[in-house]
Symmetry: C2
Subunit: 251 residues, 2 copies
DNA sequence: TCTGTTTATCGTCAGGCAGACGACTATGAT
DNA sequence: ATCATAGTCGTCTGCCTGACGATAAACAGA
């Protein structure tokens, strides 16, 4: 196809955000309530248009800050900000009834936060457990599937983001992105348990994470904020890949 | 940000294709020679504009067929066509000097083919070993890095696609997408060796792949097309994930 | 025909790692 | 003081993998 600059079809390009955190032993996603049609009053993923001179990742980081006040992890503050990565792009011609919109979805993993009411109005943005947003999260049996709870194709995007997070903490140290800068082995285990929805053996988990070089770095301090015996505090180490991986239990 | 349909910035949306195959023990990518500026005469990944009423995956499949004659694996012909999946989206404002182009890159894994001269003119499209296209394929030492050989940011896209293929054959049965419909264990092993650039022990490899349920299904036939003792022929089984995975050797 | 070469396939053995689970430690709550 | 809670250290067993020996079945060439 010869190049014809005057003939390219114009698209709207947006970023949508799957922002995940762990609150009260549950994996939660950030959702905003739509104030206008279509899907008025329904919950949706945060997002917005990409500006004409803006990189995709920068647009995602900007939308994140605008809607939640979260900052993205930079090269400096390696253990404070949230982790952001591109997830996938959704461009079905019918996904937005108004016009042709191609949305570059991004995945954000953030530690638990007081409450996400930074940019927009307070009660139109909130954390929702993903189990409530994706009812058929279980097996491959899709019979009796409920209609999607989220606007547009956002249920699909959320499901893809959750699955990415679930698989990525297997072979990377990304689970620490859900934790505060200093955390205990038990807190990290509860992250895995919430994201995977399973119970893990505390002893085997402790052996695995403390035995993986570069995963955890002890800070020297201890804490009893979880009750029980004081636990050592750790920071995330420099390792980004876990080899061998921490496989989630089957069945 | 309130929605304003008359104010969204218009983008051009394209698909770019990382088409990989294994030829003569080497991982090769499909490249086309550019006939017009910018980057006239340079090699680039195949691709083109997404049509205004066309899904992203459909656009990728269409471009693939137009430029190579390859057909994508459908639900019917499960073992003939090529595997296609979305790779990532590249939208840096400066990636195309002419205008703002957002490219949704796709990854295609195809069996070795006679020659890819279906659509365009013959000598402007060819298979090139990825080692030649990505000289610094080795370690993290990026000093003395050569300028990119491919046009635009296509070297980056190709590198991402190659890395995706290398990691994905670890934990999925996708390596069979590089093989003809019927293949031997040795041929499958040579695929792994070419993609990873390593030598694998034939005995351990044979034990692993034949012992993974659902990976390979014997057809009953044998072949000597590789020389030596006749080898059993297999088809790809129904399994898509390999558990435990086939980890590539370290070091 | 015999021998060497190539590829395929089966076995053996030792080390590493994960799951199951016992035992002990150090806090706070009652 | 006792209990409940959570953390940490060990043990044992079975599975998987890497290293490698041995055999089998074809072809090429002397």
């Amino acid at each position: 196809m010869p190049y014809d600059p005057s003939a390219f079809p114009p698209f709207a390009v947006t970023v949508d955000l799957v922002v995940l955190t762990v609150r009260r032993h549950a994996l939660c996603a950030l959702v905003v309530r739509r104030g206008e049609p279509p899907y008025q009053g329904r919950w949706a993923l945060p997002g917005g248009f990409v500006r004409i001179e803006e990189d995709l990742g920068a647009a995602a980081a900007r939308e994140l800050t605008e809607e939640t006040g979260l900052r993205v992890q930079g090269p400096d503050d390696l253990h404070t900000g949230a982790h952001l990565e591109q997830l996938a792009t959704y461009g079905d011609p019918g996904r937005d009834p108004r016009m042709r919109v191609v949305s570059v979805a991004h995945l954000v993993l953030a530690p638990d936060l007081p409450t996400p009411t930074a940019g927009g109005d307070a009660d139109s943005v909130r954390w929702a457990p993903v189990d409530a947003l994706l009812p058929s999260g279980g097996g491959p049996d899709r019979s009796g599937e409920q209609p999607a709870l989220l606007a547009f194709d956002h249920s699909r995007i959320l499901a893809d983001g959750v699955e990415r997070a679930r698989s990525k903490i297997e072979y990377s140290s990304l689970a620490t992105a859900f934790c505060p800068p200093e955390f205990t082995v038990g807190e990290l285990r509860r992250v895995y348990e919430a994201v995977w929805g399973v119970a893990l053996d505390p002893r085997n988990f402790h052996r695995k994470v403390t035995g993986t070089p570069g995963f955890l770095v002890p800070t020297g301090g201890t804490t009893t904020r979880q009750g029980g015996r004081p636990a050592q505090l750790f920071r995330a180490g420099g390792a980004t890949v876990l080899n061998p991986p921490m496989l989630r239990p089957e069945v």
